[in-house]
Subunit: 356 residues, 2 copies
Amino acid sequence: MQTFIINSEGYNVYVGNSYGPLQTFLEEKKYAKTFILADTNTSEKCLPKFTEKLPLLKEYDIIEIDAGEAHKNIDYCIGIWKMLLDFGAGRDSLLINLGGGMVTDMGSFAASTYKRGIDFIQVPTTLLSQVDASVGGKTGIDMDHVKNIIGTFTNPEAVFIDTDFLYTLPRRELLSGFAEMIKHGLICDSGYYFDLQSNAMGSVDNAMIFHSVNIKNKIVLEDPKERNIRKALNFGHTIGHAVESYSLAHDKDPLLHGEAIAIGMICEAWLSHTKTGLEESALTDIKNFLLAYYPNYRIPEGAFAELAEFMKKDKKNEKGTINFTLLEGIGKFVINQTCTEEEIRQALVLYNGLFK
Amino acid sequence: MQTFIINSEGYNVYVGNSYGPLQTFLEEKKYAKTFILADTNTSEKCLPKFTEKLPLLKEYDIIEIDAGEAHKNIDYCIGIWKMLLDFGAGRDSLLINLGGGMVTDMGSFAASTYKRGIDFIQVPTTLLSQVDASVGGKTGIDMDHVKNIIGTFTNPEAVFIDTDFLYTLPRRELLSGFAEMIKHGLICDSGYYFDLQSNAMGSVDNAMIFHSVNIKNKIVLEDPKERNIRKALNFGHTIGHAVESYSLAHDKDPLLHGEAIAIGMICEAWLSHTKTGLEESALTDIKNFLLAYYPNYRIPEGAFAELAEFMKKDKKNEKGTINFTLLEGIGKFVINQTCTEEEIRQALVLYNGLFK
């Protein structure tokens, strides 16, 4: 299996058979102690494979947390901090985050703030975390159902993407990650978007994951702190994050991140059509593609006000307005667009109307 | 009143009449919202003076927290995050930390992690925070009585030191800050140390505060992330922090930071005498100077094991040993010294023996 290497801000992302570079990394760094953060799923399904392939990693402590986005909160983060403290983690320790975005986001936040920062590496095990959370240096936890409201910008020492982990994933999780790959195509690579359409899900391979990580990495390198063009990555996320927060707060089996972002992309494609010149045919194409793969999630009219409240708390907002990234065409984004609450309401009504 | 300006890592520290520069700063930055973090003391004693001198600052929200180092914890930090969220703070908001080290440390940690970082300025109101917490970019909160165990390295936009605030301080608080000034002399400026001895406390003026901030700033600029020479500033702090943590955990009226550091400096001066060549006459001079100003705090023998546990959790430790900064002479530090638990025990016994 070929290994792709991407250089990001002072660290490497390895895609494919990344255990060789990881062994070398551990040999060179000689950490005094190593900790592996996993959730109940990855502890069972990924950890044995991971440690089997790393014979050099003989001594480590495991910090296991409950799986699920709902646990990406300060209480679990305090738990991680206390485990690190009780097990004697020092600045010469390493934290390995083995899991999906919940584990990599919260683990990296915990590491970036414990003793004012210890080294960590990301070993993302879901498609979503491989193509999205793995690069960009964003760490974070949720609070009051607001996504990633507490966090830092801190880079890992390296990212090791083993695409074999994807075989352990249910289809729903794969689709959640696939939504972010579609987004990468929609914002800046129309050819990639149509490739994804024709290959859809039958063949998510290393090259496609590499392509998505590469798109994200290029954007992040230009604007690490999200002052301008990094906002491109937020297409579908203003409404999508609000829908995700709403679902986390109310549903027993909440939407996955990518599922919520798919809804957000449909709504924001409609806003793009009405406001920034996305052609009707492109809007139809996006709607049909996404509706074919993602759940029909009815958003009650009574929830619109609550969704608007979540949007107002979004990190990208300035001067009290709600900030959007929209499309001028497939593969062409435009940042810093504002929409009124009435326009947002119309987009949600339109989405609900798609599967009457 | 003369204003001294110190350039630190990309920001300025103003000492003296700093309201002119602060007005200019606010005019230029045009923050969408401004928040002032104060504790119950500074809210009463400093906030009215502060806002009176800033006629331009018309609209702001006040976040008030209970005074006292015991409240520099994650629960209060969550309270600050939630207030910022509920009051609609965005990345275009400013947090002004008006208070002692508890407020400036925790406020800057909260700001550095809220929405992955919003701007903050420090307006330190105690001598300790003016000469110590004001520069260096260290943010932090305590956990399980371990000092600043959670935090980040994040610089403020600026630091505005108004030495008039010192008139509101009880003598005990002044002495707490004075201990850090003595430390500055001990580690790298023997002339300053003897000046402080002869002027002691009668005349802590702007020039002396400027001198101390300048010493700290020079060290921090060389080594912002505390990989090597910044550890100089930890003289007295390995034992001092442990004594402070112990006192916070057990005493109704716990030692102030500087009081604990004074004890730490006596013990570590003794260790310096036995291990790194500090002359007996210098040791005697340091002991006499500190004992004349700081409380005689008896540390029960039964507490030594607990103190050792705190020291083992210190951020500076590597490879499981307890790390010290010691003196080779007055004004000459040496970093990365290790001491055995028995040596530490002897130092504490010696300290207890000083006021039998």
